[in-house]
């Protein structure tokens, strides 16, 4: 879900995704970077993201990923679930501290 919402903003390649996640989460989400690729390839197999090679930025050819239409739908669904969940947790926590 995190990968999907990052890709919603713009198409990115693997290393870029790692950097963004690290920067946005202020270093809290640290994981072995190699594990990102099975995730990306799995999302692609499900048709939620699509990939393309590009070398227009500089000399190195990179594989970019972007969200597909069904990827956007899936993300909306997940976001809704997540906000319901966090709301419920917050309510419980708020109720307990009262």
């Amino acid at each position: 879900m995190m990968v999907l919402s990052l890709l919603e903003r713009r198409a990115m390649y693997g290393y870029e995704i790692i950097k963004e996640t690290g920067a946005l989460s202020e270093g809290i989400f640290q994981f072995k970077e190699g594990t990102l690729y099975p995730v990306l390839h799995g999302l692609e197999a499900e048709g939620l993201v699509e990939s393309y090679w590009s070398d227009t930025d500089n000399t190195r050819r990179r594989k970019y990923y972007r969200l597909t239409a069904s990827g956007v739908d899936h993300l909306r669904h997940k976001q809704k679930e997540w906000s319901l969940f966090t709301k419920a947790v917050n309510n419980v926590l708020g109720g307990a501290s009262r």
């Binding site: 713009r10 198409a11 390649y13 693997g14 290393y15 072995k32 970077e33 190699g34 594990t35 690729y37 099975p38 390839h41 799995g42 692609e44 197999a45 048709g47 699509e50 990939s51 393309y52 090679w53 590009s54 227009t56 930025d57 190195r60 050819r61 990179r62 594989k63 970019y64």
Partner: protein, 422 residues
């Protein structure tokens, strides 16, 4: 991790865990770019190349665990339902041919069915294992050869009907690659698209095989439609193709028309065009739910072992058997549609769509015709009707489809330059 002494070494270790070799190159390139990015960053922050490499490998993680999770994503896929239904159909074909022993002279039905099923399976396996993308380069040449062959076929080949019936399958596979290549709105590509769709249809009509021409035309139009072109392009091609279709119809013999429409009102001409539809209806009534097992003289059904095999099966084994076969056909077609939807690589998708369209036309057209409820066409019941070349072609076509499905999660990275959406 300590034993990793170069990027190549790391990548080889990752790929050694991935069984499907066709994905290796892609994954290596992608991971190499990532590793080189880290190394470059570490070096610019003052590390030695050796330390930088160590840092890169460390943050990437254990190559074996990366490799094995990539392996589970990129497992080759096999569509078991389609494979099982194919086997089922081949067995039914064999039983059917065995039951026809003595009714059809001049052909050794059982021997041929076994032999050509085996040849078909070999061809199908080859098609399944070969990467269909190799076809892209060969497509223009193959298309040219097919056109030449069809032009030559006009008068000189024996067994022409068989070749004509099998040719839409082969043509559609080649047309898939070509339609994708010329998928644009330039006048040149519009002309080529029209030629890809129209030319083989015209030539097939010259063979003469109206059925093959109609099937090819329908299948390629479905493919064109699936490309989701803009309406203008679709309209231009449609108008041109419609014009070709009119030419085909204009050159048809008047009797062919009457035969095509004979199912609508067979009683009006019971000994001419309506003769066969009436015989088919009669055979089906005689068959009843469980069939005429003792009285097995199907002589009054024409072409009992080829195009009207479905009528024969109902006559001999009852409409319950016919219904079962029809259900199998529907399941197969539904699975094929699912395959079409799940493949994302455009050429493979087009080929699947074209072949699925052909199979659908065959099943639906043959069943309607066999029941005396559809136009009279040279349409075989796939896999069951006796036709050696067609049997091989049909099995090989399923092989191609299964091969495309097998690679569907591997092939997707398009060679597109990065368009920045600001």
């Amino acid at each position: 991790v300590n034993s990793i002494h170069s990027i190549d070494n790391y990548l080889d270790t990752v790929c050694s865990c991935i069984k499907h070799r066709e994905v290796h190159e892609d994954i290596k390139q992608e991971l190499r770019a990532h590793l080189e990015d880290i190394v470059a960053e570490e070096i610019s922050s003052g590390k030695s190349p050796d330390e930088a490499l160590k840092a890169a490998v460390y943050s990437m993680g254990d190559p074996i665990s990366v490799g094995s999770s990539l392996n589970s994503v990129h497992k080759p896929r096999f569509e078991w339902t389609i494979g099982a239904i194919l086997c089922g159909f081949l067995i039914i074909a064999l039983i059917t041919m065995q039951s026809l022993k003595g009714f059809v002279l001049f052909e050794n039905l059982v021997r041929d069915t076994i032999a050509f099923s085996a040849i078909g399976i070999v061809f199908g396996l080859v098609m399944y294992l070969i990467d269909y993308r190799k076809l892209n380069k060969l497509a223009p040449m193959l298309f040219g050869l097919a056109i030449l062959a069809l032009m030559y076929a006009g008068s000189s080949w024996p067994r022409l009907n068989m070749i004509a019936a099998a040719s839409p399958f082969a043509l559609v596979v080649v047309a898939g690659a070509l339609l994708k290549r010329h998928n644009s709105n330039t006048p040149k590509d519009l002309a080529i698209t029209t030629a890809i769709i129209g030319l083989p249809a015209l030539l097939l009509q010259q063979v003469p095989s109206f059925t093959a021409a109609a099937i090819y035309l329908t299948a390629t139009m479905v493919m064109l439609f699936s490309l989701r072109n803009d309406k203008k392009r679709f309209a231009i091609v449609t108008v041109t193709v419609a014009f070709i279709l009119l030419t085909i119809v204009a050159t048809m013999h008047p009797y062919a028309f009457r035969r095509l429409g004979s199912f609508l009102n067979p009683e009006s001409d019971p000994f001419g065009a309506g003769f066969i539809p009436l015989r088919l209806t009669e055979a089906i009534q005689l068959g009843g739910p469980w069939g005429q097992r003792d009285m097995a003289q199907p002589g009054f059904i024409p072409e009992v072992h080829t195009d009207f095999i479905f009528t024969y099966l109902i006559y001999r084994y009852g409409w319950f058997t016919g219904l079962t076969l029809a259900v199998f056909a529907v399941i197969l077609l539904l699975r094929l549609v699912l395959v079409c939807r799940s493949v994302r690589e455009p050429v493979g998708k087009l080929i699947c769509i074209g072949l699925t369209a052909i199979f659908s036309l065959h099943f639906v057209g043959n069943i309607l015709m066999s029941l005396g409820k559809g136009p009279f066409l040279a349409l075989a019941f796939p896999f069951i009707s006796y036709s050696r070349l067609l049997l091989v072609t049909e099995i090989a076509s399923l092989g191609i489809i299964l091969g495309i499905y097998r690679r569907k999660d591997i092939i997707s990275a398009n060679e597109v330059s990065h368009v920045q959406e600001a």
